[in-house]
Symmetry: none
Subunit: 235 residues, 2 copies
């Protein structure tokens, strides 16, 4: 969950911020002074900080610098002072945004979303893992236990369509339509050739695939976990 540290000395506003943010599913630690803020941030590093400049114990820019010393989390400053020099000082000290009181909650939330959007572009690229190989569709990376493997554009495309409907049967017609276009609906030859190629590159034993499964007469299926028991050898 995204953690938003709220630093505000006035109890009413602190409460209002915390309630509104928690309603949006943020985790919201709060602090009433600069010292508390630095302690709280050290204890549980926030993803973004909402900071009132008018704290009782220390100057706001000092708090900013104290945070900037070790974290790059965006800092959104709240302040009753609308003078230009105040804004310039805070922004140049390392703040990312400056909102003058009184402000609307909707605006603050929008600015918070904008700050978070910038700060967290890369976190999780969806990974597809099986016992023998790993696929990262976004990065276009594939590797088996034997090392990295190179796939061609068509192989990626085919694999992507199958993984999108992971576990489910994908009819031949749909695979052909999505990868080669609507005029190739009947060219099941392509499927056999490219499925063989994928299995040769990804499966431990291409002749007995565990994850790229043929459903005779219907289509193919991607199975992340493989068959429940051992592969049938004799019946």
């Amino acid at each position: 969950m995204t953690r938003v540290l709220v630093v505000e000395d006035e109890p009413a506003l602190r409460q209002a911020l915390a309630i509104n943010l928690r309603a949006r599913r943020y985790e919201v630690p709060v602090a009433a002074t600069g010292a508390e803020a630095l302690t709280a941030a050290a204890q549980a590093p926030p993803d973004v900080v909402v900071l009132d400049l008018g704290l009782p114990d220390m100057d706001g820019t000092e708090v900013i610098r104290g945070l900037r010393g070790w974290t790059q989390a965006p800092i959104i400053v709240l302040s009753a002072r609308s003078g230009q020099s105040d804004k310039v000082d805070a922004l140049d000290a390392g703040a990312d945004d400056y909102v003058t009181k009184p402000f609307g909650m909707d605006e603050l939330l929008a600015r918070l979303r904008a700050a978070l959007r910038r700060a967290t572009p890369d976190e999780a690229t969806p990974l597809v893992e099986t016992a023998h190989f790993t696929i990262d569709l976004a990065a276009k990376l594939a590797k088996t236990t034997n090392g990295p493997v190179r796939l061609t554009p068509t192989e990626w495309h085919l694999l992507e369509v199958m993984i999108r409907d992971e576990g489910k049967l994908v009819p031949q017609r749909r695979l052909l339509q999505e990868v080669w276009g609507p005029t190739y609906e009947t060219e099941t030859n392509y499927l056999r050739v490219y499925m063989a190629s994928l299995r040769r590159k990804l499966e431990a034993d291409p002749a007995h695939p565990l994850h790229l499964i043929t459903e005779p007469g219907m289509g193919y299926r991607f199975d992340r976990h493989g068959p429940d028991g051992e592969p049938r050898t004799g019946g």
Copy 2:
């Protein structure tokens, strides 16, 4: 030089912005309408955009979306409207900051510095080291085991886009859009020429690159560690 695109229909303010920014050593193309803005941005991709929402020809959020389709450059919105919904709409459309007119030039410059500070990759990527060369994007320094190397502005830009998504495949289209602008989407010639130049300057064996990898038909990839095994010397 840092390029700031100013989009403002009122001539007096447009001039004032341009003069002030140029005095700070920014390169400042200007546009008076939304259409002009998109054209100018396509011609010379800006590092940051200052955008007036009240343009005569098209809605401000449309301009934002038009830019966001292909560039991640920060967008600072200027507007005479102080309503919350206007701010929320602009910010959620992809703007990075929202300044209400009238505003002070010092404040705008500070917000511009804050936006550029975030966008400049010195926070996330101080140093990129491989077995044969080292890249410092912030300091614009490159050196190989044979000594320092001089890269041209275009080479730096291309390298920067690849390093920002280190390890991941970067599609040709995105490289072309971010470095040359959206009108060059299909000029894959440029990629070949400049990738060759980078490899000639950085790779130990430009004919067999270990870090600037081609993914045929898809794009390129920057790989800090290189392939798993040692390069074959006999083949």
